[in-house]
C-alpha cells in the first residue's frame, strides 16, 4: 500500500508491500530510515529547524520541527524491532530559492540542525541529496529498502 506523508508528518511501517512516499520537498527535509534485519522503515517530512519557535505548535505537530520530529521517527521504528546501529539513514531536501542575502536559507538551517542532532547521537548518514533549487519527491519500499528520489531538472533515480 502507498502511504503518503504530508508536510510536518511522519509514518513508519513493517509491512513488506508498503511504500512510504513524500511529495514536493522544497526547503523541508525528508529523513528516510530503514532496518534491513527487522525490515522496518520510516519517513519524516519536517519543515522547520527548531521547536522553540512555538512550543504549543510543537506539542500539537511535533513532526513540523527537526528537533522534535527526528527523535520520534527513530523511537517509532524501535517499537517495531529496529535497532539504532543497524538503521540505514538517508537525507533529502533542504533546497532554497535564489537569494544572495540568505534570508530565505530555511533549507540550510534545516540541514544544519539535522547534522548537529545526528552528530550528538552518533548517527551516520548513508546517503544524502541536499540543497540546490530542485524540488524533491522521495519514496521508500519497506520490503527492500529501495529509496527512490525524483528531483526537478535531474529526473528519477535510486538513492
Amino acid at each position: 500500500m502507498k502511504l503518503v506523508i504530508g508536510i510536518s508528518d511522519m509514518k513508519v511501517s513493517n509491512q513488506a508491500d508498503d511504500v512510504l512516499i513524500t511529495y514536493s520537498l522544497g526547503s523541508c527535509i525528508g529523513v528516510v530510515i530503514w532496518d534491513p534485519v527487522a525490515k522496518v522503515g520510516g519517513l519524516l517530512h519536517y519543515m522547520l529547524p527548531d521547536s522553540s519557535l512555538d512550543m504549543e505548535k510543537a506539542q500539537a505537530k511535533p513532526f513540523m520541527f527537526a528537533d522534535s520530529g527526528i527523535p520520534l521517527l527513530f523511537k517509532e521504528t524501535y517499537k517495531y524491532g529496529a535497532v539504532k546501529n543497524r538503521l540505514i539513514v538517508k537525507v533529502v531536501g533542504g533546497s532554497q530559492i535564489m537569494d544572495n542575502a540568505g534570508i530565505f536559507n530555511i533549507g540550510k538551517r534545516n540541514h544544519a540542525v539535522l547534522r548537529k542532532i545526528f552528530w550528538k547521537n552518533n548517527i551516520m548518514i548513508a546517503k544524502e541529496d541536499v540543497g540546490g533549487t530542485g524540488n524533491r519527491t522521495v519514496s521508500l519500499e519497506i520490503g527492500t529498502g529501495i529509496t527512490r528520489l525524483k528531483v526537478s531538472g535531474r529526473g528519477e533515480f535510486e538513492l
Binding site: C28, K57, F104, T133, N135
Partner: protein, 282 residues
C-alpha cells in the same frame, strides 16, 4: 503565427472574470449595505450561491440546523468571509482540470499553491506589511500565477529546452520562460488582470511577482512576491520550476520582517491551510 503571437492571441480569448465580483466588492466595503441588496446580485451566480450555502453549513460555523436561504447565509458568514468566498469561487473556475501539467504539477496543485499564497498574503497584510488591504492581498495571491494556467501548453511543448536552460545556465524558471517563449507567466498574468479590469496596483503585483527586486517595490508587489516565495519554499504546489526563483531577501528589512517571522508564518500557514481545506474543499 509565432509563439508569442499565439500566446498573446490566447489572452484575447480568455473568459471574463465574473462581473459579480467587482459589483459586490464595492458594496461590501460600505457597512450600510443590506443583505437583501447583496443577495439580489449574488443569486444570479450559481457557483457563488452554492458555495455560500455550502460553507455556511460547514462544521466550522457549528450551526445547529441546515441553512438553505441565501439571505440567512449572508448574515451568518459575515462580510469578510463572504468576500473570500466570492473571490475564491470566482477564481477557482479558472484552475479546473489539468491546468498545470506543463509545469509537471498534478491536478489541483496549481490551485492549492494559489490558495496558500492568498492566505499567506492576507496574513502578511494584517500582520507585517502596512498599507495593503487584506482582501486585495488575498485576491492577488489567488491570481498571481494565473498566467501559468494559460502558458501551460506552451511550457509543455518547450519543456525540455526550458529545463536544460535552468540547469545549465543556473537561471530561474521564469528567466528561461521569457527567453524561450518570449513571455513569462508573470507578464502574461499581468495582462490577464488588465483584461479583467482589476486595478493597476493588482496588475503590477502579478506582473512583478518574480522580479528579483520585488521586495523593494510597491507594498502589494512586495507582499505577493514574499508570499509566493514562502509557499514555494514550503513546496506547496511546486512543479518542475522547483525553487528556481530569484528574490533579493534584503528587501525585507524595510518591513522589519526577520527570518524568525518567516518561520512563524510558515508554521501558521499549515494550520490555516487545514481550515481552508475544510471550508473550500481544496
Amino acid at each position: 503565427m509565432s509563439c508569442i503571437d499565439e500566446i498573446l492571441n490566447l489572452v484575447k480569448h480568455v473568459q471574463p472574470f465574473p462581473k459579480v465580483v467587482q459589483r459586490v466588492m464595492g458594496m461590501l466595503d460600505d457597512p450600510e449595505t443590506d443583505v437583501k441588496a447583496l443577495a439580489e446580485i449574488i443569486q444570479y451566480d450559481q457557483v457563488i450561491t452554492a458555495n455560500v450555502l455550502k460553507i455556511c453549513n460547514a462544521s466550522y460555523f457549528g450551526l445547529p440546523r441546515k441553512v438553505s436561504s441565501l439571505n440567512e447565509a449572508l448574515v451568518i458568514v459575515g462580510h469578510d468571509t463572504l468576500k473570500d468566498i466570492i473571490v475564491t469561487s470566482s477564481s477557482a473556475r479558472f484552475y479546473k482540470g489539468a491546468v498545470g501539467d506543463g509545469y509537471r504539477l498534478e491536478q489541483g496543485e496549481l490551485w492549492r499553491h494559489s490558495v496558500a499564497t492568498g492566505i499567506l498574503a492576507k496574513h502578511m497584510a494584517k500582520k507585517h506589511i502596512q498599507g495593503v488591504d487584506s482582501g486585495v492581498a488575498y485576491t492577488v495571491g489567488l491570481l498571481h500565477d494565473i498566467g501559468k494556467r494559460f502558458l501551460n501548453t506552451f511550457v509543455a511543448d518547450d519543456f525540455k529546452r526550458i529545463m536544460i536552460k535552468v540547469v545549465r545556465d543556473q537561471c530561474s524558471f521564469v528567466e528561461a520562460e521569457k527567453e524561450l517563449l518570449g513571455i513569462s507567466h508573470a507578464e502574461l498574468g499581468g495582462m490577464i488582470l488588465k483584461k479583467w479590469e482589476f486595478p493597476e496596483e493588482m496588475q503590477l503585483a502579478v506582473l512583478q511577482h518574480h522580479d528579483p527586486d520585488a521586495l523593494k517595490k510597491e507594498p502589494l508587489t512586495a507582499l505577493t512576491s514574499l508570499s509566493n516565495a514562502l509557499v514555494v519554499t514550503m513546496g506547496i504546489g511546486v512543479g518542475a520550476d522547483g525553487l528556481a526563483t530569484r528574490v533579493q531577501g534584503e528587501g525585507l528589512k524595510r518591513f522589519g520582517i526577520t527570518p524568525l517571522d518567516l518561520d512563524l508564518c510558515m508554521a501558521n500557514l499549515l494550520d490555516d491551510m487545514e481550515q481552508a481545506q475544510e471550508l473550500f474543499h481544496i
